[in-house]
Amino acid sequence: MAKEPKIRTEADRDREFAAWFTDLVGEEKLRRCIHCGVCSGSCPLADHMDEGPRRIMYLAREGFKDDVLSSNTIWLCTSCYACTVECPQQIPVTDVMYALKRRALEEGTYPRRHPTAVMAREFSTIVRRDGRMNEVRLFARLALKSGVLRYLGMAGMGMNVVRKRRFSLRRDTIRHRAELRKLLDTVEEHRAEVAS
């Protein structure tokens, strides 16, 4: 059965979001974007995305917040920066994707149980607690929280990691974890003072 194409109406438009996005990219830069598509063309994962980066730039500028923040595009971005260096208008597309991820998490409008979003959260939880990342622990938490089944195919690789001792036996923590946590709390209180 053919899919009913979605028509965006004025009711779908969020002016506040459009203004926030304009501010984020910079009005002049955003206006210079000619939607040439180099960002999508250079993106190594564009073929897996529901919207390419170019369409995200366009939809965000026009204020279609739900389409942007619920798309899988921002969560498939690997931060390879190909779009950023290729953009003829010097728009830092990768940094824009980071800002969209933060906004989506803040608003809770990211795809539910999307493993990339889960991963980012678990990553920050571990680093906040220990000061360092432990890949095995991160992977275990990721699998637990986003569904173990999807990772069954990786069991062989996990065995390799264990067999070849490519993991740390100790729990990786820093001595000054209490200071680090205080640092993170202190800067968070001032977050509103810096843009985006």
Binding site: L45, L76, Y98, I174, H176, H190
Partner: protein, 302 residues
């Protein structure tokens, strides 16, 4: 007194252990002193930036402050750590409001211990964040490296793969589109460098761990192209690239309709072999893909 501060980053203490081991062995063999930064913390990688920008800057900022106190350049072998630290340095320089918040908080909450006891942490100078490729090419030089070689890798066909984040968005020590530093180091130790048109294309990064079905095409392309060009090994300079190309190789080969595996080695492991170092000290026994073919290619001691 060491020549460089060393920021290994979390991966080099885990899946990237062979990079840590070979990096330290090679620097020692070349007479370059490395001193691991005391009590360094995670750089935040790409994940923390998706959660909170100011906290991400503070995380990296603490490491910059620890490095500033040493007076040395800091060497960061992981591409992601290198970029996060380099980018953070730039941000703190450009954005006064951000710098005030982060530096103020660092001084108020964090300490480091030196001869005079605990001192508040400060970023009181610009720290040069260096990738080992940069250090070996620009501080040591290919001539000095070549002179130190005792077991040249006679004609071993190696293709260099640089990955993304040491050339994008900032290319501070190499060409952005066609980097050459690894090519030159490999040639200096006797390798036959096989051209790699995909040398800076994405390996899938953390997506490979999160959603391997999405990134496997990227790994497959890199492996298949290297094989088609006759490379006997792929040399890498980042723990995530190494893990993706090696850990998912069986799946990638299947995808490409290939059978013969190809070793994925840190460039420091190849340099170490040519310097006559024990393969075990270089972490070669931790490879998932067999590396006997590489070990057999070393020339006898000269």
């Amino acid at each position: 007194m060491s020549d460089y501060s060393y920021y290994p980053g979390c991966s080099l203490k885990g899946t990237g252990r062979p990079y840590d081991e070979s990096m330290q062995a090679v620097f020692a063999a070349l007479g370059l002193g490395l001193d691991e930064l005391d009590d360094w913390n995670c750089c935040g990688a790409t994940a923390y930036m998706a959660i909170d920008e100011v906290q991400a800057v503070a995380l990296a900022g603490r490491n910059l402050a620890l490095a500033a106190a040493t007076g040395n350049d800091v060497v960061a072998p992981c591409n992601a750590c290198w970029l996060v630290l380099t980018k953070t340095q730039g941000k703190l320089g450009d954005d006064v409001a951000l710098r005030d918040i982060v530096c103020g908080a660092l001084g108020a909450t964090c300490t480091a211990v030196n001869g005079d006891g605990p001192q508040p942490l400060r970023i009181d100078r610009d720290v040069a964040v260096r990738h080992p490729l940069d250090v070996l090419i620009n501080d040591l030089g290919v001539d000095a490296l070549g002179e130190a070689v005792t077991r040249p890798l006679d004609g071993l066909k190696v293709t260099p793969y640089y990955g993304c984040q040491i050339v994008r968005p900032l290319a501070t020590f190499d060409d952005q589109a066609d980097p050459q530093t690894m090519d030159r180091l490999l040639a200096a130790v006797g390798c036959e460098v096989v051209d790699n048109p995909y040398k800076t294309r994405c390996c899938g990064a953390s997506q490979m761990m999160i959603m391997p079905d999405v990134g496997i095409d990227l790994v497959s392309l890199l492996i298949a192209d290297a094989v088609a060009r006759g490379a006997e090994a792929i040399a890498v300079a980042c723990p995530l690239c190494q893990f993706n190309l090696e850990g998912y190789q069986r799946k990638a080969l299947k995808e490409a309709g290939l059978e013969q595996s190809i070793p994925i080695l840190y460039f420091t492991q190849l340099l170490g072999l040519a310097l006559g170092l024990d393969p075990k000290r270089l972490g070669l026994h931790r490879s998932f893909v067999p590396v006997d073919s590489i070990l057999g290619r070393r020339a006898a001691h000269v």
